[in-house]
């Protein structure tokens, strides 16, 4: 606690914290107000005398209704959910195995491979997507969620691997050796002893991977074309910007609906996430 007078607490704690919270969360409030603001108010310039940015006298559910009924928003949400979960599972699987191998097994190329995996994180997406388009075409994955489910791990795996490596390094070797003395094979020790201990790290990496998949834009923009296949990011930007008219109301409603569920899940797991990073750091 901040020692000293109460006023010190206010200056050094409450005010800065409130300022942070306000700045970080105001755009969401803004989105909420815009989502329920009727059209006539939306297009009022800020110099007009009756500009009321922070509230609206006539909230309307029209935009939300439009979003859910006239567009394929719910389909996009389901698509994004499916793609994100699948990509996360694949990345976690690969990252778990790779992280274990690189941090706890001794073999000749360990260092080099670790670095190589890390280097792939640096390769920019804008370089990859034209050649990737060729590969997608050869595998006939074009315009299907699998194009994304298989390409997202390319930037998810390096991060998951690194995070889990940090975790594994912190687990004492004795645990494995004890297990092997007791008769377990190496892979059994890995699966039944080490992995359960690393669950917080796994959750943490999983949450991160999920967020990054949910957030991804370029590949989704380039590889998907049918409206039914689109993800939330691509769908909202391509279908709610109709020429002259940005359907701001529905756009903001989409933005909110597209993120609150994820935030909710996060609120349950944030403790794991924090603990996860802590574990990685200790190592």
């Amino acid at each position: 606690m901040i020692e000293g007078a109460k006023w010190r607490r206010w200056i050094f704690f409450y005010i800065p914290l409130s300022a942070f919270i306000f700045t970080l969360l105001f755009p969401f409030y803004w989105m909420l107000v815009t989502a329920v603001r009727p059209d006539s108010e939306l297009y009022r310039p800020w110099s007009a005398p009756n500009y009321t940015p922070f509230w609206t006298a006539h909230p309307t559910l029209d935009h939300i209704r439009y979003l859910l009924q006239e567009t394929l928003f719910s389909t996009w949400m389901l698509n994004t959910l499916f793609i994100s979960i699948a990509a996360t599972l694949i990345s976690l699987f690969c990252g778990l195995l790779a992280g274990y191998a690189l941090s706890r097994l001794k073999f000749r190329f360990a260092g080099m491979l670790g670095t190589a995996i890390f280097i792939t994180y640096l390769v920019p997406q804008t370089l990859l997507f034209i050649p990737l388009a060729d590969i997608i075409r050869n595998f006939r994955l074009g315009d299907s969620p699998w194009a994304l489910i298989l390409t997202y791990p390319t930037f998810l795996i390096p991060f998951c691997t690194w995070l889990l490596m940090g975790y594994f390094k912190a687990i004492p070797r004795e645990l494995e050796e004890c297990a092997r003395i007791d008769g377990a094979a190496r892979w059994q020790a890995m699966l039944y002893i080490i992995f359960p201990i690393a669950v917080p790290g796994i959750l943490s990496a999983g949450i991160f991977a999920f967020t990054l998949s949910w957030n991804e834009f370029i590949y989704a923009l380039v590889f998907l074309s049918s409206p039914e296949e689109k993800t939330v990011s691509v769908g909202v930007t391509s279908e709610l910007i109709r020429g002259d008219v940005f359907y701001w109301g529905s756009l903001m409603a989409g933005a909110l609906l597209g993120s609150i569920p994820v935030a909710f899940v996060y609120s349950f797991f944030v403790e794991y996430y924090v603990a996860g990073l802590t574990g990685a750091v200790k190592g």
Partner: protein, 443 residues
């Protein structure tokens, strides 16, 4: 569905006199059954989000079911932001799969001649049946030897202005500023009253080029000579035009225009913050669509205070660049026949009529017969748009409208020339920079 022999179908619908007069759909109806394609074919048509939403509704609600009935083709229309069409086309071509038909804007078909199917048969037929294409439409959809796209429409661009505000400073309708100098004076007076002009000078496909190119031409500037190779952009005329533009900008324009996209001027005009802007008819049509939402400062409906006028004259003449659109049939499509049938069908008079009507004059057909349509008698405010497409000039002037011109357009070099000068670069340097960029592209 009974199978009809190909020969019979071709006899009835192939480029004969019957079709020329009655159009594809009539001949198909005459068969009293849908032509049989082996299975139910699907066609994916990629278009931009129309600035007239009613037309998109017509396409989805009327044309799609009609198409299934008439051609046996399941049509799926995807509508995206116009600025994204090029990117989608590139990725579709590279990945070898994507939409069957893409509605390209401006001279973009010239960027993809190797990747589109030859549609000369369809285009020639439509042209003959409908009085010929406008030069502008032809030039962007034809590579000199064959048709690489079927022209679809032309979006007329005019200055939309507030009648009452212009009247206050001396321009009682139908009088309007005739030269750039006059227009600038008017703008100065209006900006002083807090009613500047508005123009997007940014990387958006619609408003910026339709202003920048005719502006340049009216001063006598041009990209290349008629041989298509000699770049002559950096000339006294060009530098003069840029110089004028900078002063003009500060005197008369809403300076936010550097960040505007194609919809910003619409919003600004409808909100009453600008007095005049170059645009398609979408501002007027939107105001007319919602007369209680868009009001003047006196509470009267805004649409009654809007008029249209062409861009002013410069030393070298008066020009306009009106945005052409054409449909490309992609080469990666396995069987081009349904696509061609579709293009023939949808550009035919009876089918196109429905779409044309919904546009309310926002676009003109790519062929000349649409000038005679009854629609133009309905609203005199829309009359300037009727003959818009006869303007005749297109990017790449004075050379052909080829790939190089399309690259120059896609890179927004002409637009940026002015933008840079407005941001402080001396006009000579801006013109020199633009000249070098164009030369590099033509190399």
């Amino acid at each position: 569905m009974a199978r009809i022999s190909r020969r019979k179908l071709l006899k009835l619908s192939g480029g004969g006199a019957v079709v020329a007069r009655t159009g594809g759909i009539a001949s198909i109806l005459a068969l009293k059954q849908a032509p049989a394609f082996a299975q139910a074919t699907t066609l994916h048509w990629l278009r931009w989000n129309d600035f007239v939403p009613a037309s998109d509704t017509v396409l989805q609600k009327e044309i799609v079911p009609e198409c299934e009935k008439a051609l046996g083709v399941k049509l799926s229309i995807e509508m995206i932001n116009g600025n994204d069409i090029q990117a989608r086309t590139t990725s579709a071509i590279q990945s070898g799969s994507g939409p069957d038909i893409i509605c390209a804007l401006n001279n973009w078909p010239q960027l993809y001649p190797e990747s589109v199917a030859d549609v000369s048969d369809v285009a020639d037929e439509i042209g003959k049946a409908q009085g010929g294409f406008y030069e502008e439409s032809r030039v962007v959809a034809n590579d000199g030897k064959k048709w690489i796209a079927v022209p679809w429409c032309v979006l007329g661009a005019q200055l939309a202005y507030r009648k009452s505000w212009l009247a206050e400073i001396g321009y009682e309708a139908p009088k309007f500023a005739q030269t750039w100098e006059e227009y600038r004076e008017a703008g100065k007076k209006l900006k002083a009253k807090g009613r500047p002009f508005g123009q997007a000078v940014s990387h958006s496909f619609g408003d910026p080029p339709t202003y920048a190119y005719p502006y340049l031409w009216s001063w006598g500037g041009k990209e290349v000579e008629a041989d298509g190779k000699t770049v002559v952009l950096n000339s006294k005329a060009t530098v003069d035009s840029v110089n004028f533009a900078v002063g003009f900008w500060k005197d008369a324009y809403d300076e936010g225009g550097l960040a505007w996209d194609d919809s910003s001027n619409n919003r600004a005009f409808l909100a009453g913050t600008i007095s005049s802007t170059l645009n398609g008819a979408s501002i007027y049509l939107e105001a007319k669509r919602k007369p209680d939402v868009y009001l003047t400062e006196n509470g009267t409906p805004l649409w009654q205070d809007i008029l249209h006028a062409p861009l002013p004259k410069g030393a070298d003449g008066q020009f306009g660049y009106h945005l052409p659109m054409s449909n490309m049939l992609m080469k990666y499509v396995k069987d081009p026949k349904p696509g061609k049938e579709f293009l023939r069908w949808i550009t035919s008079k009876p089918v196109y009529q429905a779409w044309f009507d919904s546009q309310q004059g926002y676009s003109v057909g790519a062929t000349t017969i649409w000038e005679k349509d009854k629609l133009w008698d309905k609203d005199p405010v829309m009359l300037p748009f009727r003959t818009a497409a006869r303007a005749g000039r297109f990017p790449g002037y004075a050379g052909p409208a080829d790939r190089h011109a399309a690259e120059v357009l896609s890179k927004y070099i002409i637009v940026d020339m002015t933008a840079k000068a407005i941001q402080g670069m001396p006009a000579q340097d801006a013109a020199k920079w633009a000249h070098e960029e164009v030369t590099r592209i033509h190399a």
